[in-house]
């Protein structure tokens, strides 16, 4: 990408929408704007900037601005919530659900799929602790174009280097020219559905964990409270809610409270529930495939009797 074109587009976006992009956001232009350049059969980013500067095509200008203001997402974003999901929440749920042998997770702002696939990788790595269990991962988003990309699970080189370890990349993705696609076994772990968070959640069934990260910020206080109240109704009493790093439930009712020990997630407030207390969780929704680990890929030596990847994949 030409630096001059990048700078020109940044200047245009700042002037027209107040959006400020620094050099670190260059990948966003590559992943979001270059497809528009290609679709419009333009010679390059410079041509697009020229059209935008001339004000000749308002719908195109709107599309570019929208493309750049979509909430940023990447694999294992902020890392800590995923660490807590794997190291705290999941082990306690596995212990608490020994009789039901079922865990359901809802990713409520799936966007282009990086978050649900991150969760799917963790669930796969923990599969050996849930032999024969029903594990469902439901991922929803309002925007159909995002869901289409999420289902296809094709990511640019930049996207797969954001948050994803090389071990995970080699284990769960296959290179296709300049892009990388999640392997079928990973894609099949996630059920993508279109859903407006303002609509009814009853059809989704009950969940043990909800990820709703970096989406409440787009709503006003009353709507945030309403969403949290309705999420509380479909979250198990001992379930966990993960919000974005900058989001909190302060001033948004009493349905949730930060977990007293691990503030990375929230538990249902006012019911005295804590993770680890066994409860009856009715399994609702579509049938889930038993978790059994993804098909083995002969890639690299792996630590014995541990997750298929482990923290290190190379022997020396």
């Amino acid at each position: 990408m030409q630096q001059q074109s990048f700078d020109a587009l940044c200047a245009y976006l700042k002037r027209t929408s107040g959006l400020i992009l620094d050099q670190s956001k260059q990948y966003l232009i590559e992943s979001r704007v270059l497809p528009i350049v290609k679709r419009e059969k333009l010679g390059g980013l410079a041509d697009l900037v020229l059209i935008l500067e001339r004000g000749q095509n308002q719908s195109l200008a709107k599309e570019v601005v929208e493309a750049m203001t979509i909430n940023e997402t990447y694999f294992f974003r902020d890392r800590n919530p995923f660490d807590k999901f794997r190291d705290v929440v999941l082990p306690k749920l596995i212990s608490a659900r020994q009789s039901e042998r079922s865990i359901r997770v809802w990713c409520a702002a799936a966007s282009t799929g990086q978050e649900p696939y991150s969760l799917a990788m963790i669930l796969d790595e923990m599969a050996h602790k849930m032999p024969g269990w029903r594990v469902e991962l439901v991922a929803t988003d309002l925007a159909e174009p995002q869901l289409t990309k999420a289902r296809a699970a094709v990511y640019t080189q930049f996207e797969v280097q954001r948050g994803l370890s090389t071990a995970h990349l080699l284990r769960y993705f296959t290179q296709q020219g300049d892009t990388w696609q999640a392997i079928d076994a990973l894609r099949s772990k996630v059920q993508f559905r279109q859903l407006n968070l303002l609509s009814d959640y009853a059809s989704l069934g009950r969940f043990d964990v909800i990820f709703c990260r970096n989406v409440l910020i787009y709503f006003d206080v009353a709507t945030k409270s309403d969403i949290l109240k309705r999420m509380a109704r479909i979250l198990a009493p001992d379930g966990a809610l993960f919000l974005g790093a900058s989001e909190s439930v302060i001033g948004l009712g009493t349905d949730f409270a930060p977990d007293t020990e691990h503030r990375a997630f929230h538990t249902r407030g006012g019911v005295g529930a804590a993770l680890g207390q066994p409860i009856k969780t009715p399994v609702i929704g579509t049938a889930a495939a038993p978790v059994g680990g993804l098909a083995a890929r002969p890639i690299l030596p792996t630590p014995a009797a541990q997750s298929p990847l482990g923290s290190r994949i190379a022997t020396r």
Binding site: S24, Q161, T166, Q175, L300, R312, A314
Partner: protein, 121 residues
Amino acid sequence: MKQILVVDDSPVVRKIARRILTDMEFDVAEAEDGSEALRYCSEKMPDAILLDWDMPIMDGLEFLQAFRKLPDGKSPKVVFCTAQNHQNSIMRAMTAGADEYIMKPFDEMILRDKLEQVGLV
């Protein structure tokens, strides 16, 4: 202050990496190819190495294989940073003992993230 040795035959890449790593409060050393890097490591072992693949005299993979045989060459983290972007190349590097792999072009966020992956940040 942890030291990172940047091994790349491109002065531009070394300059960019130095700027980013200095901002992250690393002590940065530079080498132009694998043989120079190996000489440096024999005298002073860095905490981590950011390693290009295609370089004259001794390439990154040859360096890594020789480096891991040094008496103190097992513990420093080695992060490849290269335009060798084929899946098979990545597998070869990881099997040879790399800890992480960056496909060029990279930016500050990717470099920071990969250093975090190996526990340096």
